[in-house]
Each structure stands twice: as C-alpha cells, then as structure tokens.
Symmetry: C2
Subunit: 175 residues, 2 copies
C-alpha cells in the first residue's frame, strides 16, 4: 500500500476483531517494520514478542481484560531492554513509541487494524504479571501490546483538530 | 512510495543536504502525516512549526549548530502543548515520537531525507532559546527538529542487530 494511503487510513481499533488468524510471515514483516525505526544512540533497545495465536493473546488478556485484546487473533508485545543502553542516555519511551507507530502503520499496509494498547499496563502489578507471563527478565519493560487482525466492522475514528490550529509557519502562531 | 519500501529506505541523515528548496506543499503533506499519528487520550498535543526556507533554519541552527541542520533547506520543529492534556494523563513523549516517526517516513516517501535531531535541545538553555526564537508560549516544549531536504550524498546507515536477536515468539527467548 502507498505510504500516504497507509498513514491516513490508520485509526485506533478498539473494538472486535474477526477470528481469522494472521499468517506468521505478516507478523514478522510488521515486526521488521517496527525494528526499522530509529533508536536513540542506535542502542536498539526495543524487543518484541510475537503472539501468533488466539490462545497466547487470551492468556495475556486475562491479566488485564480489555475489549481491544479479547478477540484479537494475534498481537505484538513491545518491550525495551534497559540493559541495552549501557549507561548511554536512555530514550526508551521515544524508541518504543517510534517502533510501535511503524508497526501500527505496517499492520494497516497489510490490510489489518491495530491499536496502541498501553493502558492495561499502567498498573505496575498488572505490568509485572504480564512481564512474568511472557518470561521477561527484570531489566525488560513492557510498554504496549498491539493487537493485530481483521476488524469485525470498522471502529470509530476520533475527531481531529483542524490542521491550521496545529501548524505554524516560521514562528508559533504565524500562518 | 510503497509503505514497506519507505520504512526500510529510511535512515538518519546526519550529513549535508543539497541547497534545493522543498516545496511548501511537500512540507505540509509531511506535517499532515505527522499529525495523523495517534496521541494518548486523543489530546492532540503535538504542535508543529514549518521552517520553509534556509534562512529560518539557519537562525535556529545558530543556537546550537549541528552538521545535520547547517545545510538543510527546510525543517519541521516538533513541540508538545502541555496545556492540551488538561489534567488527563500526559503522553507527550510517546505522542511527539510517533508524530516525528511518521514525518521521517513521509519525508522519505517524497524522496527526501531527514533525521531525528533532539540532542541540540537536551541543554535546557539552548532549548529555551530555540523556543523563544520560535515564539513558543511557556507551556510548549520543543522536543526535536527534523531537517528535510535532498541529500548531498547518501549518509551512513548504522549497523542493525539481527532480527532473530530482537524478536521472540510467545515468550521472551522462544524462537
């Protein structure tokens, strides 16, 4: 799919997915797109876990049930490895976010929908439980899980502030 | 350009740009792609300043001279508006990062190169000076400037850790 078509087609799919499974090759291509994002100082601290079937997604979903994950046939969990930065200034929030955005777009480019599901892991206990389920060592942090699949009906697109209110030319406020 | 071609073609261009100017329509399309990224709770806190000519880029570059910005014919400065979240949990780092990544890709899709130039603004004094130059109110924060233009010779691509070392299946460490 064309880049700009992809970027403007993407939305956050918070509702149901069809049960159709996602071929592993597609999940791997999405992961590769994620890892192609830049990382601060090239630490490449982003680590991914591909959950390729409904059962493994459901196990994760049990820790913090959310509508967006319950029916997903596949998902990618996005971690950062805090040991990767080896004392260099750490950019793990930017790094995971850029990788996640690439993967959301890659999912759309392949005809799927996805969502940035981080709220289930704001609660430290739930995040730690999810990290344990996924065998993460203690120097890994789970930030977000991206459910991936075909939509069971297109979800709602949220309203957008007009371009003119968010962009200035030369100086803030200049049109 | 195809989405996957774009994502795998992108690299961080840290060296010189050609002097050719970038049409405003291209800069606006790149900005639109940036603003199409998701924001936490849909606060849409990301604000952009388009620097459409060499002179305005040079003024900004004087505050914190970097090789990557010195020759750029255009740039987009990425701010977050801390007032936009109105007491909702703030995701400004993820939000600006997702928007910046969309714009880096959009630049590549249009045949340009760019870079994630944040290091000039780690120094608070320089960041504040840049914010003042760009007329930002005090509740705006400048995170990154993306130089945009045609490359004067392709820059160096940094080495990448093999896919197999960054991705697991089902559980961390499982192949």
């Amino acid at each position: 799919m064309d880049f700009f078509e992809t970027v403007f087609k993407r939305y956050t799919h918070k509702t149901k997915f069809l049960a159709d499974s996602v071929p592993l090759a597609d999940l791997e291509l999405i992961a590769k797109a994620g890892l192609a994002a830049p990382t601060g100082n090239n630490t490449q601290c982003v680590k991914l876990v591909i959950l390729r079937d409904k059962k493994s997604v459901e196990e994760l979903c049990e820790i913090s049930p959310t509508e967006g994950l319950k029916t997903a046939p596949a998902a990618i969990a996005v971690f950062t490895d805090m040991a990767a930065s080896k004392g260099i200034k750490n950019f793990e929030m930017e790094d995971y976010a850029a990788a996640a955005e690439n993967m959301l777009l890659a999912a759309v480019a392949l005809g799927y929908v996805s969502a940035w599901l981080d709220s289930p892991y704001f609660d430290d206990d739930k995040r730690l439980a999810a990290e344990e389920l996924l065998n993460a060592p203690e120097w890994y942090k789970l930030w977000v899980v991206l459910p991936i699949g075909l939509p069971d009906g297109e979800g709602t697109r949220r309203s957008k502030i007009p371009f003119e209110e968010l962009v200035s030319y030369g100086k803030i406020g200049d049109m």
